[in-house]
């Protein structure tokens, strides 16, 4: 179970392989990679030429670790890796990696999606897009709140 908040890019192949490396009881690795889209992240206006991710150092790591711990309490997991970048990113750049290893695919898929949903509403990151009209802060999406809420039954 490991969490990183960093400016640097990450290696999806190496991170995915590390989740099952040296163990023979992992049957399933589910991963998610989030990328910067050029088109209307805020739902309106022009193309995005770059984006800056601000975060709250210290709280970011704590919140991600708490989310991972909660996933570990809900499903049988053998490894979890979360990497979230901050700083300036360009369209097509990777933002976030979540990888989950488990004996069974159901647990791996559920935990991976759960971590992403919670991360979206609980981890203190904020996106500011650069557009031809200047910088604009991305609004939080109601869809993200609903996505997180469906895990609380």
């Amino acid at each position: 179970m490991s969490v990183s908040v960093q400016e640097a890019d990450f290696d999806v192949g190496a991170e995915t392989a590390a989740l099952s490396a040296g163990r023979l009881d992992v049957g399933a690795v589910a991963t998610f990679v989030g990328l910067v889209r050029a088109d209307k992240l805020s739902g309106e206006g022009s193309e995005v030429s770059a984006m800056t991710l601000e975060h709250y150092p210290g709280m970011t790591e704590k919140s991600l670790e708490a989310i991972v711990a909660e996933a570990g309490g809900r499903w049988q997991l053998q490894g979890v890796r979360v990497i979230h970048r901050f700083g300036r990113l360009l369209p097509g750049d990777r933002i976030v990696f979540v990888g989950v290893a488990s004996a069974h695919r159901g647990d791996a898929f559920a935990a991976c999606e759960f971590i992403m949903d919670y991360l979206k509403t609980r981890a203190p990151f904020w996106k500011k897009e650069d557009t031809p009209e200047g910088g604009r802060w991305v609004d939080a999406r109601e869809a993200d709140d609903s996505a997180a809420a469906r895990w609380s039954d």
Partner: protein, 84 residues
């Protein structure tokens, strides 16, 4: 009691402050009361007023408006998060 207050993202830009250290009157003992206290500075600070979509953390944990403050707490105010 004395607390450190941090502001992030659009709120930081609106207020023109990233952080400050405050000595609070006794009447200000919860997150909600602190928000009201700051909003009463007027001008840009009304961004912290009631009804504004502001989230808060105490010592790096997300909390609600009823949460109690303690001396030397690290408080943060910020807009809803948009990572991932």
């Amino acid at each position: 009691m004395s607390v450190k207050v941090l502001y992030f993202a659009s709120l930081r830009e609106t207020l023109g402050y990233s952080h400050e250290t405050l000595t609070l009157p006794e009447s200000v003992s919860t997150i909600g009361a602190l928000r009201g206290h700051l909003a009463r500075r007027g001008g840009a600070w009304e961004a912290l007023g009631e009804g504004r979509n502001v989230r808060a953390a105490i010592n790096q944990e997300m909390v609600g408006p009823e949460s109690a403050l303690a001396d030397r707490d690290e408080i943060a105010f910020f807009p809803p998060v948009t990572g991932g």
